[in-house]
Structure formats: structure tokens, C-alpha cells
């Protein structure tokens, strides 16, 4: 039985993990691009990102492009595995229904 992950299951965090999981291992997504994709506010997104970062599921990198600060987000290997396990857990719930 794959572990059901309550932290990931929250809808916004589920979408964050799904969006980042669609990137390849080498890619990072800009904070603004993720915000636009999910249609959430900066504050809301930052709150959910902090929880995922604290769990070690995502890596947040702050840098500068030219003179502008940019924040990039990527899944960690632990986060990718946790997401895969959670998806599997959801499928098993359906299968056992």
C-alpha cells in the first residue's frame, strides 16, 4: 500500500507538485509562471511553497536575472518520489473501491 500524503493532498499543493513534476529533472519554474498557471495570489503560493520546502519536497532558489530578483522552484528527488507515492495511493483507493 503506497503512503497517502496529507501534506501533498491539499488542492493547491497537489497542483504545485503536479506542475513541477511535469518538468524534467534539470528544470526550474519561475515563481510568477507557477502563480499564473495556478491562478493563486503571491501570498497564497508562498505559504504553500514554504510548507513543501520545509518537508524537503521542493527546492527554492533565489537569484537575479539582470537587476531583477527571481525565484525558481524545482522538485527534489524526495518530492518526486513522495508525489509518485501519493498518486499511487489515490489509484489504489479507486482500485479497492
Amino acid at each position: 500500500m503506497s503512503p497517502f500524503n496529507e501534506l501533498i493532498h491539499q488542492p493547491v499543493r497537489l497542483q504545485i507538485m503536479a506542475a513541477l513534476n511535469a518538468l524534467d529533472d534539470e528544470s526550474q519554474l519561475d515563481f510568477g509562471a507557477l502563480r499564473d498557471l495556478l491562478g493563486v495570489t503571491d501570498g497564497n503560493l508562498a505559504t504553500h511553497l514554504r510548507k513543501l520546502e520545509d518537508a524537503g519536497y521542493i527546492q527554492v532558489t533565489k537569484t537575479f536575472v539582470g537587476r531583477r530578483p527571481r525565484t525558481y522552484i524545482a522538485l527534489t528527488p524526495l518530492g518526486r518520489q513522495a508525489f509518485a507515492d501519493h498518486v499511487q495511493a489515490l489509484k489504489e483507493i479507486l482500485k479497492n473501491a
Binding site: F4, Q15, A22, L23, E26, Q28, G32, I93
Partner: protein, 192 residues
Amino acid sequence: MKHAPVSPAEAQEALDLIENTTQHMRRALAHGGMPYFLIIWGLVWTLGYGATYFLGADSPKVGLVWLILTTLGTLGSFGVGAHLGRRVRSPRGLRIGLYWLAWMLYAALIIHFAHPQSGDQLALLISLFAMMGYVSSGLLYRSGFLAILGLAVTALIVAGYLLVPSFFNLWMAVFGGGSLIAAGLYILRAWR
């Protein structure tokens, strides 16, 4: 993490949300800059081939028009690429840029040594090389839309060259450039 059972309906809802987000993200990645590239190069083709038709292929102004248009097109493409690179940091963007640079180099070398015998043949070769780039990069980066568009425009190019040779440049301006612009506008409208 403790086990937190949810109903099958809730599990299905979550899986649907994951699937929708994944598809949205993949589409944004695959097609984020494509409409702009298509519109930029569609305009280059429409204006360039239109100028070639109306000024005459032998006019000394035609070469200058093409030089200006392709320079603007290349600069515009780099601008779009740089903008996209700020949204997703990935070695893939650099690889796509290098792919097209290599493609341009080989196309220029092959066309130079092939010695096309007329302006129309030169236009045919350049256009076919461009569409070869669309089809191959579409296959490489799993964009069926780009690959199919490349094949469709290739068919239009060959048809125009064989069926209406006297109006080939006008044909290319309308159907070649027009197809690229229409495809770019379609993506902007349908996929955003």
C-alpha cells in the same frame, strides 16, 4: 505521514486535478513560445516573398529586403527565447537554440554547394529546410502540432513550386507565410 483515507470520489477528483495541471503545464512548456515564433517567421515569409514577387526576383532591393527581414526575425526569436528562458530555467532551451543554429549552418552550407539555378529554386530549398526543421524539432520535442504543421506547409510549398511556378513567390507569401501566421494566431486563441 499518517494514512488519511478519502472516498473514491475524492481520490478521482484529486487525480483529475493532477491530470489537468500536468496537461496544462506540458502544453505551456511545449507551446509557450511557439505562436510567437510562428507569427514572426510567417511575417518574414509573407513580407519577403511578397516583396520578391512585386519587386521582381532580379531586383537588387530584394536581397536587402530579405537581409533586413531575416535579421529582424532572428532578433525577435532571440527576444522571445530570452523571455521564455526567464520563466523556465532549463538546459533544454539552450539545446533548442543550438539545434536551430546548427540547422541554419548546415542549410546555408548545403544550399551554397548545391548551386540552385534560379531564385525560385533557392526559395524552394530554404523553405523546405525551414519545414524540415519544424518537422524534426516537432518530433524531437513531442509537439505533434509543429510536426503536422511542417508537413502541411511542405505540401503547400511543393504544390506551389510544381503547379504555379510563375506565381511561386506570391504563393509562398500567401500560403507559406499565411499558414504560419494563421497557426500562430490559432494557438494564441485556442491554447491560452
